[in-house]
Protein backbone atom coordinates (compact mmCIF):
# COMPACT_ATOMS: atom_id res chain seq x y z
CA UNK A 1 0.00 0.00 0.00
CA UNK A 2 1.27 3.42 -0.87
CA UNK A 3 2.45 5.69 1.87
CA UNK A 4 -0.08 8.38 0.93
CA UNK A 5 -3.00 5.93 0.82
CA UNK A 6 -1.96 4.58 4.18
CA UNK A 7 -1.91 8.13 5.58
CA UNK A 8 -5.42 8.77 4.27
CA UNK A 9 -6.81 5.58 5.76
CA UNK A 10 -5.09 6.19 9.08
CA UNK A 11 -6.38 9.76 9.26
CA UNK A 12 -9.89 8.69 8.24
CA UNK A 13 -9.92 6.06 10.98
CA UNK A 14 -9.14 8.70 13.59
CA UNK A 15 -11.60 11.17 12.15
CA UNK A 16 -14.50 8.78 12.76
CA UNK A 17 -14.44 8.73 16.61
CA UNK A 18 -13.70 12.47 16.58
CA UNK A 19 -16.82 12.91 14.50
CA UNK A 20 -18.98 10.89 16.90
CA UNK A 21 -17.71 12.68 19.98
CA UNK A 22 -18.13 15.99 18.15
CA UNK A 23 -21.74 15.11 17.28
CA UNK A 24 -22.62 14.30 20.88
CA UNK A 25 -20.91 17.44 22.20
CA UNK A 26 -22.53 19.62 19.59
CA UNK A 27 -25.98 18.12 20.29
CA UNK A 28 -25.88 18.78 24.02
CA UNK A 29 -24.35 22.19 23.52
CA UNK A 30 -27.16 23.32 21.22
CA UNK A 31 -29.77 21.83 23.50
CA UNK A 32 -28.24 23.59 26.52
CA UNK A 33 -28.15 26.95 24.73
CA UNK A 34 -31.71 26.49 23.54
CA UNK A 35 -32.93 25.90 27.16
CA UNK A 36 -30.86 28.77 28.43
CA UNK A 37 -32.29 31.22 25.93
CA UNK A 38 -35.90 30.04 26.38
CA UNK A 39 -35.62 30.22 30.18
CA UNK A 40 -34.13 33.66 29.95
CA UNK A 41 -36.95 34.83 27.71
CA UNK A 42 -39.61 33.34 30.01
CA UNK A 43 -37.96 34.94 33.05
CA UNK A 44 -38.01 38.39 31.42
CA UNK A 45 -41.63 37.83 30.41
CA UNK A 46 -42.47 36.90 34.02
CA UNK A 47 -40.72 40.01 35.32
CA UNK A 48 -42.66 42.19 32.87
CA UNK A 49 -45.96 40.63 33.97
CA UNK A 50 -45.12 41.00 37.66
CA UNK A 51 -44.10 44.61 37.15
CA UNK A 52 -47.29 45.41 35.25
CA UNK A 53 -49.39 43.66 37.91
CA UNK A 54 -47.67 45.60 40.69
CA UNK A 55 -48.38 48.87 38.96
CA UNK A 56 -51.95 48.29 37.77
CA UNK A 57 -53.05 45.33 39.84
CA UNK A 58 -54.22 43.50 36.76
CA UNK A 59 -52.76 41.72 33.80
CA UNK A 60 -52.25 43.48 30.52
CA UNK A 61 -54.65 42.87 27.65
CA UNK A 62 -51.95 41.47 25.47
CA UNK A 63 -50.52 39.11 28.04
CA UNK A 64 -49.23 35.78 26.94
CA UNK A 65 -50.37 33.82 29.94
CA UNK A 66 -51.48 30.35 28.99
CA UNK A 67 -53.21 29.31 32.19
CA UNK A 68 -54.19 30.91 35.40
CA UNK A 69 -54.68 28.58 38.36
CA UNK A 70 -56.38 30.26 41.28
CA UNK A 71 -55.57 29.27 44.86
CA UNK A 72 -52.31 27.57 44.06
CA UNK A 73 -49.10 29.08 45.16
CA UNK A 74 -45.52 28.40 44.18
CA UNK A 75 -42.92 29.88 46.49
CA UNK A 76 -40.45 30.18 43.66
CA UNK A 77 -40.98 30.20 39.93
CA UNK A 78 -40.72 26.67 38.44
CA UNK A 79 -39.71 25.68 34.92
CA UNK A 80 -41.29 22.60 33.32
CA UNK A 81 -41.06 20.81 30.01
CA UNK A 82 -44.22 19.74 28.28
CA UNK A 83 -45.38 18.30 24.99
CA UNK A 84 -48.32 19.79 23.21
CA UNK A 85 -50.06 18.35 20.18
CA UNK A 86 -49.55 20.55 17.18
CA UNK A 87 -52.71 19.95 15.18
CA UNK A 88 -51.15 21.39 12.04
CA UNK A 89 -48.91 18.41 11.42
CA UNK A 90 -50.34 16.13 14.12
CA UNK A 91 -47.10 16.05 16.10
CA UNK A 92 -46.16 16.46 19.72
CA UNK A 93 -44.08 19.61 20.04
CA UNK A 94 -41.88 20.41 23.10
CA UNK A 95 -42.63 23.56 25.09
CA UNK A 96 -41.05 25.17 28.13
CA UNK A 97 -43.42 26.43 30.78
CA UNK A 98 -42.80 28.77 33.67
CA UNK A 99 -45.07 28.55 36.72
CA UNK A 100 -45.04 31.52 39.03
CA UNK A 101 -47.46 32.99 41.56
CA UNK A 102 -48.60 36.54 42.13
CA UNK A 103 -50.76 37.96 44.90
CA UNK A 104 -53.91 39.30 43.26
CA UNK A 105 -56.22 41.09 45.60
CA UNK A 106 -55.22 38.98 48.59
CA UNK A 107 -55.37 35.63 46.72
CA UNK A 108 -52.44 33.90 45.26
CA UNK A 109 -52.85 33.02 41.60
CA UNK A 110 -50.39 30.83 39.68
CA UNK A 111 -49.69 31.99 36.17
CA UNK A 112 -48.23 29.73 33.45
CA UNK A 113 -46.37 31.19 30.51
CA UNK A 114 -44.90 28.97 27.81
CA UNK A 115 -42.54 29.16 24.90
CA UNK A 116 -41.70 26.81 22.03
CA UNK A 117 -38.51 24.76 22.48
CA UNK A 118 -36.12 23.39 19.79
CA UNK A 119 -37.12 19.75 19.21
CA UNK A 120 -34.43 17.12 19.87
CA UNK A 121 -34.84 15.77 16.36
CA UNK A 122 -34.28 19.27 15.03
CA UNK A 123 -31.16 19.64 17.15
CA UNK A 124 -29.88 16.20 15.99
CA UNK A 125 -30.48 17.12 12.38
CA UNK A 126 -28.72 20.42 12.80
CA UNK A 127 -25.82 18.83 14.63
CA UNK A 128 -25.43 16.24 11.92
CA UNK A 129 -25.42 18.85 9.18
CA UNK A 130 -22.85 20.95 11.01
CA UNK A 131 -20.53 18.02 11.69
CA UNK A 132 -20.80 16.67 8.13
CA UNK A 133 -20.03 20.09 6.74
CA UNK A 134 -17.13 20.49 9.10
CA UNK A 135 -15.77 17.03 8.37
CA UNK A 136 -15.93 17.60 4.65
CA UNK A 137 -13.97 20.76 5.14
CA UNK A 138 -11.44 18.99 7.38
CA UNK A 139 -11.12 16.06 4.96
CA UNK A 140 -10.62 18.35 2.03
CA UNK A 141 -7.98 20.41 3.80
CA UNK A 142 -6.30 17.20 5.06
CA UNK A 143 -6.23 15.87 1.52
CA UNK A 144 -4.54 19.04 0.36
CA UNK A 145 -2.10 19.04 3.27
CA UNK A 146 -1.19 15.35 2.99
CA UNK A 147 -0.74 15.64 -0.74
CA UNK A 148 1.46 18.62 -0.28
CA UNK A 149 3.37 16.84 2.44
CA UNK A 150 3.89 13.75 0.32
CA UNK A 151 5.02 15.89 -2.54
CA UNK A 152 7.24 18.17 -0.53
CA UNK A 153 8.49 16.37 2.53
CA UNK A 154 8.62 12.85 1.10
CA UNK A 155 10.03 13.94 -2.25
CA UNK A 156 13.66 13.05 -1.42
CA UNK A 157 12.47 9.66 -0.20
CA UNK A 158 10.69 8.90 -3.47
CA UNK A 159 13.72 10.14 -5.36
CA UNK A 160 15.95 7.75 -3.43
CA UNK A 161 13.50 4.92 -4.00
CA UNK A 162 13.41 5.63 -7.71
CA UNK A 163 17.21 5.58 -7.92
CA UNK A 164 17.34 2.30 -5.99
CA UNK A 165 14.82 0.69 -8.33
CA UNK A 166 16.84 1.78 -11.35
CA UNK A 167 20.15 0.74 -9.80
CA UNK A 168 22.01 -1.95 -11.72
CA UNK A 169 24.79 -4.04 -10.24
CA UNK A 170 27.20 -3.32 -13.04
CA UNK A 171 26.08 0.29 -13.45
CA UNK A 172 27.38 3.41 -11.74
CA UNK A 173 26.53 4.20 -8.11
CA UNK A 174 23.36 6.28 -7.81
CA UNK A 175 23.86 9.89 -6.79
CA UNK A 176 21.41 10.61 -3.98
CA UNK A 177 20.40 14.27 -3.54
CA UNK A 178 21.04 15.98 -0.21
CA UNK A 179 17.92 17.18 1.56
CA UNK A 180 17.08 19.38 4.52
CA UNK A 181 15.70 16.37 6.39
CA UNK A 182 18.31 14.65 8.57
CA UNK A 183 16.70 11.22 8.50
CA UNK A 184 16.68 11.10 4.71
CA UNK A 185 20.25 12.35 4.56
CA UNK A 186 21.45 9.58 6.81
CA UNK A 187 19.38 7.02 4.90
CA UNK A 188 21.00 8.15 1.66
CA UNK A 189 24.43 8.09 3.22
CA UNK A 190 23.98 4.56 4.55
CA UNK A 191 22.56 3.42 1.22
CA UNK A 192 25.52 4.88 -0.66
CA UNK A 193 27.98 3.04 1.57
CA UNK A 194 25.99 -0.18 1.30
CA UNK A 195 25.61 -0.01 -2.46
CA UNK A 196 29.29 0.72 -2.91
CA UNK A 197 30.13 -2.30 -0.80
CA UNK A 198 27.69 -4.52 -2.67
CA UNK A 199 28.96 -3.23 -6.01
CA UNK A 200 32.58 -3.83 -5.00
CA UNK A 201 31.73 -7.34 -3.83
CA UNK A 202 29.92 -7.97 -7.08
CA UNK A 203 32.80 -6.72 -9.22
CA UNK A 204 35.32 -8.59 -7.13
CA UNK A 205 33.28 -11.76 -7.43
CA UNK A 206 32.85 -11.31 -11.16
CA UNK A 207 36.51 -10.58 -11.69
CA UNK A 208 37.48 -13.48 -9.50
CA UNK A 209 35.42 -15.98 -11.44
CA UNK A 210 36.55 -14.54 -14.74
CA UNK A 211 40.19 -14.70 -13.73
CA UNK A 212 39.82 -18.16 -12.28
CA UNK A 213 38.12 -19.25 -15.44
CA UNK A 214 40.81 -17.74 -17.61
CA UNK A 215 43.70 -19.25 -15.67
CA UNK A 216 42.08 -22.63 -15.29
CA UNK A 217 41.03 -22.93 -18.91
CA UNK A 218 44.42 -21.78 -20.20
CA UNK A 219 46.27 -24.41 -18.19
CA UNK A 220 43.69 -27.03 -19.10
CA UNK A 221 44.33 -26.08 -22.70
CA UNK A 222 48.02 -26.82 -22.17
CA UNK A 223 47.23 -30.19 -20.59
CA UNK A 224 44.91 -31.10 -23.40
CA UNK A 225 47.33 -29.98 -26.09
CA UNK A 226 50.14 -32.01 -24.57
CA UNK A 227 48.13 -35.15 -24.00
CA UNK A 228 46.69 -34.84 -27.50
CA UNK A 229 50.19 -34.66 -28.86
CA UNK A 230 51.28 -37.71 -26.90
CA UNK A 231 48.19 -39.61 -28.00
CA UNK A 232 49.30 -39.00 -31.55
CA UNK A 233 52.77 -40.39 -30.83
CA UNK A 234 52.12 -43.70 -29.09
CA UNK A 235 55.79 -44.71 -29.47
CA UNK A 236 57.00 -41.85 -27.28
CA UNK A 237 54.00 -41.88 -25.00
CA UNK A 238 53.61 -43.33 -21.51
CA UNK A 239 51.00 -46.06 -21.15
CA UNK A 240 48.09 -44.94 -23.29
CA UNK A 241 45.42 -45.77 -20.66
CA UNK A 242 46.82 -43.26 -18.17
CA UNK A 243 47.18 -40.69 -20.90
CA UNK A 244 43.59 -41.25 -21.90
CA UNK A 245 42.50 -40.74 -18.29
CA UNK A 246 44.38 -37.44 -18.05
CA UNK A 247 42.81 -36.30 -21.28
CA UNK A 248 39.27 -37.25 -20.28
CA UNK A 249 39.66 -35.75 -16.81
CA UNK A 250 40.92 -32.45 -18.16
CA UNK A 251 38.07 -32.35 -20.68
CA UNK A 252 35.52 -33.05 -17.93
CA UNK A 253 37.11 -30.51 -15.63
CA UNK A 254 36.91 -27.81 -18.23
CA UNK A 255 33.27 -28.67 -18.97
CA UNK A 256 32.40 -28.53 -15.27
CA UNK A 257 34.26 -25.27 -14.83
CA UNK A 258 32.39 -23.77 -17.78
CA UNK A 259 29.11 -24.80 -16.20
CA UNK A 260 30.07 -23.32 -12.83
CA UNK A 261 31.10 -20.13 -14.55
CA UNK A 262 27.75 -20.03 -16.31
CA UNK A 263 25.95 -20.68 -13.02
CA UNK A 264 27.74 -17.82 -11.32
CA UNK A 265 26.99 -15.52 -14.24
CA UNK A 266 23.29 -16.41 -14.11
CA UNK A 267 23.39 -15.84 -10.37
CA UNK A 268 25.05 -12.46 -10.87
CA UNK A 269 22.28 -11.56 -13.31
CA UNK A 270 24.77 -10.91 -16.06
CA UNK A 271 22.26 -12.12 -18.62
CA UNK A 272 19.83 -9.31 -18.40
CA UNK A 273 18.48 -8.57 -21.82
CA UNK A 274 14.89 -9.75 -21.78
CA UNK A 275 12.93 -9.75 -25.02
CA UNK A 276 9.63 -11.36 -25.98
CA UNK A 277 10.40 -14.93 -26.96
CA UNK A 278 8.22 -17.51 -28.64
CA UNK A 279 9.28 -20.56 -26.67
CA UNK A 280 7.90 -22.85 -29.37
CA UNK A 281 10.68 -21.74 -31.69
CA UNK A 282 13.31 -22.38 -29.04
CA UNK A 283 11.99 -25.89 -28.39
CA UNK A 284 11.78 -26.69 -32.10
CA UNK A 285 15.36 -25.46 -32.57
CA UNK A 286 16.57 -27.63 -29.69
CA UNK A 287 14.79 -30.70 -31.09
CA UNK A 288 16.35 -29.92 -34.42
CA UNK A 289 19.79 -29.63 -32.86
CA UNK A 290 19.51 -33.02 -31.18
CA UNK A 291 17.48 -34.74 -33.91
CA UNK A 292 20.30 -37.01 -35.05
CA UNK A 293 21.05 -38.12 -31.53
CA UNK A 294 17.33 -38.78 -31.08
CA UNK A 295 17.26 -40.78 -34.32
CA UNK A 296 20.32 -42.84 -33.36
CA UNK A 297 18.66 -43.98 -30.15
CA UNK A 298 15.34 -44.49 -31.98
CA UNK A 299 13.54 -42.25 -29.52
CA UNK A 300 9.97 -41.33 -30.37
CA UNK A 301 9.24 -37.63 -29.87
CA UNK A 302 5.72 -36.44 -29.34
CA UNK A 303 5.12 -32.74 -29.03
CA UNK A 304 2.01 -30.73 -28.27
CA UNK A 305 2.65 -27.06 -28.69
CA UNK A 306 0.47 -24.10 -27.88
CA UNK A 307 1.78 -20.58 -28.39
CA UNK A 308 3.86 -19.51 -25.42
CA UNK A 309 5.41 -16.07 -25.28
CA UNK A 310 7.73 -15.16 -22.43
CA UNK A 311 9.92 -12.20 -21.65
CA UNK A 312 13.36 -13.78 -21.25
CA UNK A 313 16.99 -13.33 -22.15
CA UNK A 314 17.30 -15.20 -25.45
CA UNK A 315 20.62 -16.79 -24.47
CA UNK A 316 19.19 -18.11 -21.21
CA UNK A 317 16.04 -19.38 -22.92
CA UNK A 318 18.22 -21.36 -25.30
CA UNK A 319 20.39 -22.74 -22.49
CA UNK A 320 17.26 -23.68 -20.51
CA UNK A 321 15.56 -25.54 -23.35
CA UNK A 322 18.77 -27.13 -24.66
CA UNK A 323 19.59 -28.50 -21.22
CA UNK A 324 16.09 -29.90 -20.78
CA UNK A 325 15.98 -31.59 -24.18
CA UNK A 326 19.56 -32.81 -23.83
CA UNK A 327 18.70 -34.26 -20.44
CA UNK A 328 15.69 -36.07 -21.91
CA UNK A 329 17.83 -37.56 -24.68
CA UNK A 330 20.84 -38.32 -22.52
CA UNK A 331 19.02 -40.17 -19.76
CA UNK A 332 16.67 -41.98 -22.10
CA UNK A 333 16.71 -45.59 -23.21
CA UNK A 334 16.93 -47.01 -26.72
CA UNK A 335 13.49 -47.02 -28.39
CA UNK A 336 12.31 -44.75 -25.61
CA UNK A 337 10.09 -41.73 -25.90
CA UNK A 338 9.97 -38.02 -25.13
CA UNK A 339 6.72 -36.13 -24.72
CA UNK A 340 6.97 -32.34 -24.77
CA UNK A 341 3.89 -30.33 -23.84
CA UNK A 342 4.07 -26.56 -24.11
CA UNK A 343 1.19 -24.36 -23.02
CA UNK A 344 1.08 -20.65 -22.22
CA UNK A 345 1.47 -21.46 -18.54
CA UNK A 346 3.80 -24.46 -18.42
CA UNK A 347 6.37 -26.62 -20.15
CA UNK A 348 6.32 -30.34 -19.41
CA UNK A 349 9.03 -32.67 -20.67
CA UNK A 350 8.51 -36.32 -19.97
CA UNK A 351 10.92 -39.03 -20.98
CA UNK A 352 11.34 -42.73 -20.49
CA UNK A 353 14.46 -43.71 -18.61
CA UNK A 354 15.99 -46.08 -16.15
CA UNK A 355 14.19 -46.60 -12.85
CA UNK A 356 15.52 -44.30 -10.17
CA UNK A 357 15.39 -45.00 -6.47
CA UNK A 358 15.25 -42.08 -4.11
CA UNK A 359 13.84 -38.60 -4.00
CA UNK A 360 13.33 -37.25 -7.49
CA UNK A 361 13.62 -33.64 -6.34
CA UNK A 362 17.28 -34.21 -5.47
CA UNK A 363 17.92 -34.51 -9.20
CA UNK A 364 17.69 -30.74 -9.35
CA UNK A 365 20.41 -30.26 -6.74
CA UNK A 366 23.71 -28.92 -7.90
CA UNK A 367 25.80 -31.85 -6.74
CA UNK A 368 23.35 -34.65 -7.50
CA UNK A 369 25.14 -37.79 -8.62
CA UNK A 370 24.01 -39.62 -11.69
CA UNK A 371 24.60 -43.28 -12.33
CA UNK A 372 28.01 -42.58 -13.84
CA UNK A 373 29.00 -40.36 -10.96
CA UNK A 374 28.47 -37.26 -13.07
CA UNK A 375 27.28 -34.25 -11.26
CA UNK A 376 23.89 -33.17 -12.50
CA UNK A 377 24.98 -29.67 -13.31
CA UNK A 378 22.79 -29.31 -16.41
CA UNK A 379 19.63 -29.51 -14.34
CA UNK A 380 21.16 -27.24 -11.69
CA UNK A 381 21.56 -24.63 -14.44
CA UNK A 382 17.93 -25.19 -15.44
CA UNK A 383 16.89 -24.71 -11.82
CA UNK A 384 18.94 -21.53 -11.47
CA UNK A 385 17.37 -20.02 -14.59
CA UNK A 386 13.90 -20.93 -13.28
CA UNK A 387 14.69 -19.25 -9.96
CA UNK A 388 15.89 -16.14 -11.75
CA UNK A 389 12.59 -15.80 -13.61
CA UNK A 390 10.36 -17.00 -10.77
CA UNK A 391 9.30 -20.17 -12.58
CA UNK A 392 8.25 -23.17 -10.48
CA UNK A 393 10.09 -26.35 -11.37
CA UNK A 394 9.31 -29.86 -10.24
CA UNK A 395 10.78 -33.26 -11.02
CA UNK A 396 8.34 -36.15 -10.90
CA UNK A 397 9.20 -39.81 -11.27
CA UNK A 398 6.39 -42.21 -12.01
CA UNK A 399 6.39 -45.92 -11.39
CA UNK A 400 6.77 -46.73 -15.07
CA UNK A 401 10.19 -45.05 -14.98
CA UNK A 402 8.86 -41.92 -16.62
CA UNK A 403 10.87 -38.87 -15.69
CA UNK A 404 8.86 -35.70 -15.85
CA UNK A 405 10.14 -32.15 -15.48
CA UNK A 406 7.47 -29.53 -15.20
CA UNK A 407 8.12 -25.80 -15.34
CA UNK A 408 5.22 -23.50 -14.47
CA UNK A 409 5.86 -20.02 -15.74
CA UNK A 410 3.40 -18.26 -13.44
CA UNK A 411 2.48 -14.69 -14.15
CA UNK A 412 5.23 -12.34 -13.22
Amino acid sequence: MKLIKRTYIFTAKWLLPVMIVGCIFCFYMIEYISYEETDEFLTYEMQRLVKYHNEFNELPEFHQVTHIFPDIRFENPVFKDTLILETGDNEMVPYRELYFSINHRGNYQTLVIRHLLLGRDDIAEGTFMIIIGLMLLVAFSLFIIVNYMAGKIWYPFYKTLDKLVKFKMNGPLPDFPTTSIDEFNSLNKILSVLLKKVGDEYRYNKEFSENTSHELQTHLAVIRACTEKLLNNPDKAPPIDELQKIYVASTKLSQVQKSFFLLSKINNREYNNPIEIDLRKTVVQALDFFDEAIAIRAIKVESRFEPCTLSMDPGLAEILINNLVKNAVKHNIDNGDIVITLSPSALIIENSGLPFVGNAETMLERFAKGKNGNIGIGLAIVKQICELYGFRISYILSEQAKHQIRISFGIN
Partner: protein
Protein backbone atom coordinates in the same frame (compact mmCIF):
# COMPACT_ATOMS: atom_id res chain seq x y z
CA UNK B 1 50.09 -19.34 -45.77
CA UNK B 2 51.45 -17.07 -43.05
CA UNK B 3 49.97 -17.09 -39.58
CA UNK B 4 50.43 -14.91 -36.51
CA UNK B 5 49.65 -16.54 -33.22
CA UNK B 6 49.22 -14.27 -30.21
CA UNK B 7 48.93 -16.07 -26.86
CA UNK B 8 50.44 -15.13 -23.51
CA UNK B 9 50.73 -18.62 -22.08
CA UNK B 10 54.01 -19.73 -23.63
CA UNK B 11 53.42 -23.45 -23.20
CA UNK B 12 50.15 -23.18 -25.04
CA UNK B 13 51.77 -20.95 -27.64
CA UNK B 14 54.41 -23.63 -28.23
CA UNK B 15 51.82 -26.38 -28.49
CA UNK B 16 49.77 -24.39 -30.98
CA UNK B 17 52.80 -23.42 -33.06
CA UNK B 18 54.16 -26.95 -33.17
CA UNK B 19 50.86 -28.31 -34.36
CA UNK B 20 50.44 -25.65 -37.02
CA UNK B 21 54.01 -26.06 -38.26
CA UNK B 22 53.30 -29.77 -38.65
CA UNK B 23 50.38 -28.73 -40.80
CA UNK B 24 52.87 -26.85 -43.02
CA UNK B 25 51.81 -23.39 -42.01
CA UNK B 26 54.33 -20.61 -41.72
CA UNK B 27 53.95 -19.41 -38.16
CA UNK B 28 55.06 -16.38 -36.26
CA UNK B 29 54.36 -15.99 -32.59
CA UNK B 30 53.86 -13.25 -30.13
CA UNK B 31 53.49 -13.45 -26.37
CA UNK B 32 52.23 -9.98 -25.56
CA UNK B 33 50.29 -7.07 -26.91
CA UNK B 34 53.14 -4.70 -27.84
CA UNK B 35 55.11 -7.31 -29.71
CA UNK B 36 52.03 -8.36 -31.63
CA UNK B 37 51.17 -4.76 -32.44
CA UNK B 38 54.64 -4.21 -33.89
CA UNK B 39 54.40 -7.32 -36.05
CA UNK B 40 51.01 -6.25 -37.38
CA UNK B 41 52.50 -2.93 -38.56
CA UNK B 42 55.51 -4.56 -40.18
CA UNK B 43 54.12 -7.65 -41.88
CA UNK B 44 51.06 -8.97 -43.58
CA UNK B 45 49.49 -12.15 -42.31
CA UNK B 46 46.88 -14.35 -43.90
CA UNK B 47 45.46 -15.41 -40.59
CA UNK B 48 45.85 -14.17 -37.03
CA UNK B 49 44.96 -16.36 -34.06
CA UNK B 50 44.61 -14.07 -31.07
CA UNK B 51 43.87 -14.52 -27.37
CA UNK B 52 41.68 -11.81 -25.84
CA UNK B 53 43.44 -11.64 -22.48
CA UNK B 54 46.95 -10.36 -23.10
CA UNK B 55 49.51 -8.62 -20.96
CA UNK B 56 49.57 -5.00 -22.04
CA UNK B 57 46.23 -4.82 -23.78
CA UNK B 58 43.17 -6.55 -25.11
CA UNK B 59 43.19 -8.89 -28.08
CA UNK B 60 40.11 -7.04 -29.28
CA UNK B 61 42.25 -3.93 -29.78
CA UNK B 62 44.71 -5.96 -31.85
CA UNK B 63 41.75 -7.07 -33.90
CA UNK B 64 40.91 -3.44 -34.60
CA UNK B 65 44.52 -2.72 -35.60
CA UNK B 66 44.67 -5.63 -38.00
CA UNK B 67 41.41 -4.67 -39.63
CA UNK B 68 42.76 -1.16 -40.12
CA UNK B 69 46.15 -2.31 -41.44
CA UNK B 70 45.11 -5.23 -43.58
CA UNK B 71 41.42 -6.02 -43.84
CA UNK B 72 42.16 -9.21 -45.77
CA UNK B 73 43.58 -10.97 -42.72
CA UNK B 74 41.36 -13.70 -41.36
CA UNK B 75 40.98 -13.63 -37.60
CA UNK B 76 40.27 -16.35 -35.08
CA UNK B 77 39.71 -15.13 -31.53
CA UNK B 78 40.63 -17.35 -28.59
CA UNK B 79 39.06 -16.68 -25.23
CA UNK B 80 38.83 -18.44 -21.93
CA UNK B 81 35.89 -16.44 -20.79
CA UNK B 82 33.25 -17.88 -23.05
CA UNK B 83 31.50 -14.63 -22.46
CA UNK B 84 28.87 -13.65 -24.92
CA UNK B 85 29.83 -9.97 -24.77
CA UNK B 86 33.37 -10.66 -25.93
CA UNK B 87 32.07 -12.96 -28.60
CA UNK B 88 29.65 -10.39 -29.98
CA UNK B 89 32.22 -7.61 -29.76
CA UNK B 90 34.73 -9.81 -31.54
CA UNK B 91 32.36 -10.56 -34.39
CA UNK B 92 31.41 -6.91 -34.64
CA UNK B 93 35.05 -5.96 -35.01
CA UNK B 94 35.41 -8.43 -37.84
CA UNK B 95 36.55 -11.67 -36.21
CA UNK B 96 35.83 -14.64 -38.47
CA UNK B 97 35.67 -17.29 -35.80
CA UNK B 98 35.70 -17.68 -32.06
CA UNK B 99 37.10 -20.56 -30.10
CA UNK B 100 37.00 -21.04 -26.34
CA UNK B 101 39.71 -22.49 -24.18
CA UNK B 102 40.46 -25.27 -23.73
CA UNK B 103 40.25 -26.53 -27.28
CA UNK B 104 41.73 -29.47 -29.06
CA UNK B 105 44.42 -28.78 -31.61
CA UNK B 106 42.36 -30.76 -34.10
CA UNK B 107 39.56 -28.23 -33.58
CA UNK B 108 41.87 -25.26 -34.10
CA UNK B 109 43.32 -26.79 -37.25
CA UNK B 110 39.84 -27.50 -38.58
CA UNK B 111 38.77 -23.92 -37.88
CA UNK B 112 41.86 -22.46 -39.58
CA UNK B 113 41.40 -24.65 -42.64
CA UNK B 114 37.73 -23.79 -42.81
CA UNK B 115 38.60 -20.10 -42.62
CA UNK B 116 41.19 -20.46 -45.40
CA UNK B 117 38.59 -22.16 -47.59
CA UNK B 118 36.09 -19.38 -46.96
CA UNK B 119 38.70 -16.65 -47.61
CA UNK B 120 40.11 -18.27 -50.72
CA UNK B 121 37.56 -17.08 -53.26
CA UNK B 122 39.44 -18.15 -56.37
CA UNK B 123 40.66 -21.46 -55.09
CA UNK B 124 38.86 -24.70 -54.73
CA UNK B 125 36.53 -25.33 -51.85
CA UNK B 126 36.62 -29.04 -52.42
CA UNK B 127 38.57 -31.16 -49.97
CA UNK B 128 39.56 -34.54 -51.32
CA UNK B 129 41.07 -37.54 -49.76
CA UNK B 130 41.46 -40.86 -51.49
CA UNK B 131 38.36 -41.49 -53.54
CA UNK B 132 36.26 -39.20 -51.42
CA UNK B 133 35.78 -35.48 -51.94
CA UNK B 134 33.82 -32.96 -49.93
CA UNK B 135 32.41 -29.81 -51.50
CA UNK B 136 32.27 -27.46 -48.56
CA UNK B 137 30.08 -24.83 -50.25
CA UNK B 138 27.41 -27.24 -51.45
CA UNK B 139 27.90 -29.47 -48.41
CA UNK B 140 27.98 -32.43 -50.79
CA UNK B 141 30.11 -35.56 -50.56
CA UNK B 142 31.09 -37.86 -53.41
CA UNK B 143 32.68 -41.26 -53.05
CA UNK B 144 33.93 -42.90 -56.22
CA UNK B 145 32.21 -40.10 -58.12
CA UNK B 146 28.88 -41.06 -56.67
CA UNK B 147 26.99 -38.78 -54.33
CA UNK B 148 26.53 -40.04 -50.83
CA UNK B 149 23.93 -38.66 -48.52
CA UNK B 150 25.27 -37.71 -45.10
CA UNK B 151 23.38 -36.15 -42.24
CA UNK B 152 24.54 -32.78 -40.91
CA UNK B 153 26.60 -34.28 -38.07
CA UNK B 154 28.04 -36.98 -40.29
CA UNK B 155 29.11 -34.32 -42.77
CA UNK B 156 30.69 -32.22 -40.01
CA UNK B 157 32.54 -35.21 -38.59
CA UNK B 158 33.86 -36.29 -41.99
CA UNK B 159 35.07 -32.76 -42.74
CA UNK B 160 36.68 -32.66 -39.30
CA UNK B 161 38.60 -35.85 -40.20
CA UNK B 162 39.56 -34.42 -43.60
CA UNK B 163 40.92 -31.29 -41.92
CA UNK B 164 43.08 -33.45 -39.65
CA UNK B 165 44.34 -36.38 -41.69
CA UNK B 166 46.52 -38.74 -39.71
CA UNK B 167 45.70 -37.07 -36.40
CA UNK B 168 43.92 -38.95 -33.66
CA UNK B 169 40.54 -37.36 -33.00
CA UNK B 170 39.34 -38.22 -29.54
CA UNK B 171 35.68 -38.98 -28.92
CA UNK B 172 35.51 -35.88 -26.73
CA UNK B 173 37.00 -33.75 -29.44
CA UNK B 174 34.45 -35.00 -31.99
CA UNK B 175 31.58 -34.52 -29.53
CA UNK B 176 32.69 -30.96 -28.84
CA UNK B 177 33.03 -30.32 -32.56
CA UNK B 178 29.42 -31.23 -33.30
CA UNK B 179 27.66 -30.25 -30.09
CA UNK B 180 29.79 -27.46 -28.63
CA UNK B 181 28.81 -26.71 -25.04
CA UNK B 182 26.28 -29.53 -25.18
CA UNK B 183 29.01 -32.14 -25.69
CA UNK B 184 28.16 -33.82 -22.39
CA UNK B 185 25.31 -35.47 -24.29
CA UNK B 186 27.95 -38.01 -25.31
CA UNK B 187 28.44 -39.11 -21.67
CA UNK B 188 25.53 -41.50 -21.59
CA UNK B 189 25.64 -43.26 -24.93
CA UNK B 190 28.18 -43.75 -27.64
CA UNK B 191 26.62 -41.40 -30.16
CA UNK B 192 30.02 -40.82 -31.77
CA UNK B 193 30.43 -44.53 -32.39
CA UNK B 194 27.00 -44.63 -34.07
CA UNK B 195 27.81 -41.65 -36.26
CA UNK B 196 31.18 -43.13 -37.32
CA UNK B 197 29.50 -46.48 -38.00
CA UNK B 198 26.98 -44.78 -40.29
CA UNK B 199 29.66 -42.80 -42.13
CA UNK B 200 31.71 -45.96 -42.69
CA UNK B 201 28.66 -47.85 -43.92
CA UNK B 202 27.74 -45.12 -46.40
CA UNK B 203 31.31 -44.83 -47.72
CA UNK B 204 32.03 -48.53 -48.06
CA UNK B 205 28.70 -49.22 -49.72
CA UNK B 206 29.97 -47.05 -52.57
CA UNK B 207 33.03 -49.25 -52.92
CA UNK B 208 35.47 -46.95 -51.19
CA UNK B 209 38.01 -48.03 -48.64
CA UNK B 210 37.18 -47.43 -45.05
CA UNK B 211 39.62 -44.69 -44.18
CA UNK B 212 38.51 -44.13 -40.61
CA UNK B 213 40.37 -46.31 -38.19
CA UNK B 214 39.49 -46.75 -34.56
CA UNK B 215 42.24 -46.01 -32.06
CA UNK B 216 41.38 -48.30 -29.21
CA UNK B 217 40.01 -46.55 -26.16
CA UNK B 218 40.76 -43.08 -27.48
CA UNK B 219 39.00 -42.22 -30.67
CA UNK B 220 39.49 -42.38 -34.42
CA UNK B 221 42.00 -41.46 -37.06
CA UNK B 222 41.78 -40.80 -40.80
CA UNK B 223 44.35 -43.18 -42.25
CA UNK B 224 46.71 -41.51 -44.64
CA UNK B 225 48.42 -44.65 -45.85
Amino acid sequence: MKLLIVEDNLKLLDAITETLVEEKFLCETSGNYLDAEGKIYLYRYDIMVVDINLPGGSGLDLLREVKAQNPETGIIVISARNSLDNKLEGFELGADDYITKPFDMAELVARIKSLIRRRNFRGTRVVSFGDISIDTTKRGVTANNQNIDLTKSEFDILLFFFSNPGRVLTRESIAEHIWGDNMDLADSFDFIYSHIKNIRKKITSNGCNDLIKAVYGIGYRLNIN
